[in-house]
Symmetry: C2
Subunit: 488 residues, 2 copies
């Protein structure tokens, strides 16, 4: 039988029959599962020679460049990109699927008593008290599409995915505090100041292969703000969220809440893993491909205060009677919380406060959703804008208040916060809508005419096929107002 | 033989063999050429019953809506649209191709002695002195794409074509002044105040068929600002420009310079032809599909002062040594001329004057092109902006100057002048470029590294595949500056 496209020779049979056949040229031996019950997990850090071999393979290939999606017109789809490279990457590296009974957590490095703990150990309430929190996890790329729409930045589809205002989520997590686990290991050796959290998933950057890793300062752990969780919204943590155990770092960006957590290493300095040292950096506006250095970026840990309008949508025609229903979310990182949400129907000139009773309850590490009826007399294209004030205002001395206003709400324009990595779109969220105020007589009459004629008013760009006024009305107007062209 | 797609039955054979076959269901008899030597000309105004029959046909058909191009992502092509409906329309109505020897001009209505003049009559210098002018003809839709990119407006592909900064042109025209022709007809009857200029091309709007028509005030004719021309840049007027004779109305929008001119009618009031009475109107920002009346629009005759950057292009990467070469055009309608052009490299905060010697010569009815070397230290995404001051400033009293500055240059932002018809994009033209200043050491070093490695620097969105600094440099930086996370 001739070897065809579906014949893999000696390559291992794919686990999932719907996955396309594996490439027979690839050395899958290098990327085979390390442990029974740990599907899709490869240990790279403990085997420098394997890491080197993978690097040799990666540099020996000519990979196609990522798809261009910023210098081209941005598709009106959601998501904007299909994530082809994401999918390819996941197919090559696999998403870890770990049997909870086989799972264990390694605690090592500068901990006094290195340990290997099972899930049963963590769930033993005699060792570790249970901890439950409502937590918002926000990607530092939330609302990145607004930056991209203004100016292109670094364009890797995988890293800099063009998220809109939905790359944020809130859930109730159950687990334990990492502080108690460190204490159970006898605490840290002198000089240890950071904890490196490592996931079982494979990550790669600049032709280097590694396990996903970040680090958090030990002080964050000591504040009981780093959780190890196995339950989300009353269910066991789903696979895609990092089952069986993930970190949830309260008030930090999502990239720090390592999924498929399997190793915690106490270290003296922040990890040099790329996600911590070279990515998720917030650059000055003038830093880019032509002059970048990693040391020029601010490490993104806590997100600044932010907010978004969830409805109405951009380009929506909103027919109303002088008030527009608006709803959205508001969030601040680092344990700060939204105190006040303000909305504008005039592009940010006048601001209305969302009534406090229209905000969801306060939580230290969670967003608040809100809704309001925003007065709007104006017709035609308007810009709804939202901004949020967080509680860090109240920490300050009263006489500094005027100054602190600048710090604690959001910049007005996208350009104010645009940066090469397209991170932290913290500017006031703007939504352009077409306002049709039915409380105005002429507007009401026109809408009735559309209805009477059975003609759709939308899309508004479609030319109206019936006259806007009679010639009698037209002549009467100019008889009264004087002609369009005058001689003297 | 079975009748197939290519078999037209009794329909007339197409004139041009490359034209697709005509539709056998269409009554071509109605639209047949009126005069020998006048191909593509149909007289609608003199035959109300024909006009009515065409209307009946148009309302009996369900036409597909125009293509949506504003609410979707705007393609990055030039032109933005293929003009499918333009082409269909031209195929149905034909562009007039008139034998110069068969052509004549009718002068009628409230002229004292109605006449019919041939081209030889017009060219008879004993009757009419020759007139030659360098003239800029600008479409009121020039730079409309900037309005569309901000907000959608009325969306007929044909009417509101998404022009960029190129819908303007300058040529040397030869012909005569219409004033002399009117004088040759004995002048106007009392009460005549406007001249309706009618073209041989067919126009339609709201299911009505008509010859293209507009009107100009008689005062404009008396000022020798309406030409009848047959020569353009030293050549006979090309077919597409309205051969054998078109009007050129100096300082008015292009829509008034009627092509394939064949009839001039003296009338007491501006014509009610749609191009003059119902289109080319400049509405207030709040007027749109929901509340429009024709009387709410300002009739667009003269374009306000305007300008555009022709190079660099939007999204271009510009590598320079601290100065950016910029070039463009500047124009003002109504016989006003550009006095000063100013450019900004910081979005309109600071303005540099284009040296006067870098502007092309002044002409009363023509643009000025310009070029300059614009100082720019800043790197990354910047916005080049251009604005122009015209001479109407100098007409005013000196003590009113501060006030008149507001009137005589361009609005800063597109929104300031956005209107439903997407006409008159008079706001300062903005071009976003990515500035790479090679006079900066780090930038120069990085560019050299790209060159050394044989890696293209563009597109800038493509991730850089080599490190930005060594770990030694990295460690040295933090040893000196202190760590990213601090404890106390």
């Amino acid at each position: 039988m001739t070897k065809g496209r579906g014949d893999q020779g000696d390559a291992p049979a794919p686990e999932n029959p719907t996955t396309p056949p594996l490439d027979p040229k690839v050395d899958y031996e290098l990327a085979k599962d390390e442990l029974p019950g740990w599907f899709g997990y490869v240990e790279w850090e403990d085997y420098p020679e394997k890491k080197k071999a993978a690097h040799e393979i990666l540099i020996s290939h000519e990979f196609p460049p990522p798809p261009e999606f910023q210098l081209e017109p941005i598709p009106g789809t959601n998501p904007v990109l299909e994530g082809v490279r994401w999918k390819e990457w996941h197919r090559a590296s696999q998403i870890p699927i770990i049997d909870p009974n086989s799972w264990f957590l390694r605690l090592e490095g500068l901990v006094k008593e290195p340990k290997k703990l099972t899930l049963a150990d963590l769930q033993d309430e005699s060792k570790f008290p249970r901890m439950e929190r409502l937590v918002t996890i926000q990607c530092s790329g939330t609302r990145r599409i607004e930056q991209i729409s203004l100016y292109a930045g670094e364009g890797d589809e995988m890293i800099n995915a063009p998220w809109a205002e939905g790359a944020i989520g809130t859930a109730r997590y159950v687990g334990i505090s990492l502080k108690k686990v460190i204490k159970y290991c006898g605490g840290l050796v002198d000089g240890a100041k950071h904890l490196e959290l490592v996931g079982a998933d494979t990550y790669f950057k600049m032709s280097e292969v590694m396990n996903y890793a970040i680090s958090v300062p030990y002080s964050k752990v000591q504040a009981n703000e780093v959780m190890l969780v196995w339950e989300m919204n009353g269910e066991p943590l789903p696979k895609i969220h990092g089952a069986p155990v993930r970190a949830v770092v309260l008030g930090y960006i999502g990239a720090r809440s390592v999924k498929w957590l399997y190793r915690i290493t106490a270290i003296p300095e922040p990890t040099k893993a790329p996600v911590q040292s070279r990515e998720y950096l917030y650059f000055n506006q003038q830093v880019g491909k032509h002059n970048q250095r990693w040391t020029d970026g601010i490490q993104i840990q806590e997100m600044p205060v932010s907010s978004a309008i969830m409805a109405p949508w951009n380009k929506q025609v909103v027919i109303h009677e002088g008030k527009i229903s608006v709803k959205g979310w508001a969030y601040s990182g680092g344990g700060r919380w939204p105190e006040r949400v303000e909305v504008s129907a005039d592009g940010g000139f006048s601001w209305y406060m969302v009534p406090v009773e229209n905000l969801s309850p306060k939580h230290k590490f969670a967003w608040r959703t809100w809704h309001t009826e925003l007065p709007c007399d104006v017709e035609g294209w308007i810009e709804l804008v939202v901004r949020c004030w967080d509680n860090s205002l109240s920490k300050s001395l009263w006489f500094m208040m005027a100054c602190l206003y600048i710090i604690d709400t959001q910049p007005t324009e996208v350009r104010n916060a645009w940066n090469w990595g397209l991170h932290v779109t913290s500017s006031a969220h703007r939504v352009r809508i077409y306002s049709v105020n039915k409380s105005k007589e002429r507007t009401r009459a026109r809408l009735e005419e559309f209805e009477k004629r059975g003609t759709s008013f939308v899309p508004i760009t479609r030319p109206t096929e019936f006259p806007f006024m009679t010639w009698e009305e037209y002549d009467e107007f100019f008889a009264k107002a004087g002609p369009r062209d005058i001689e003297v």
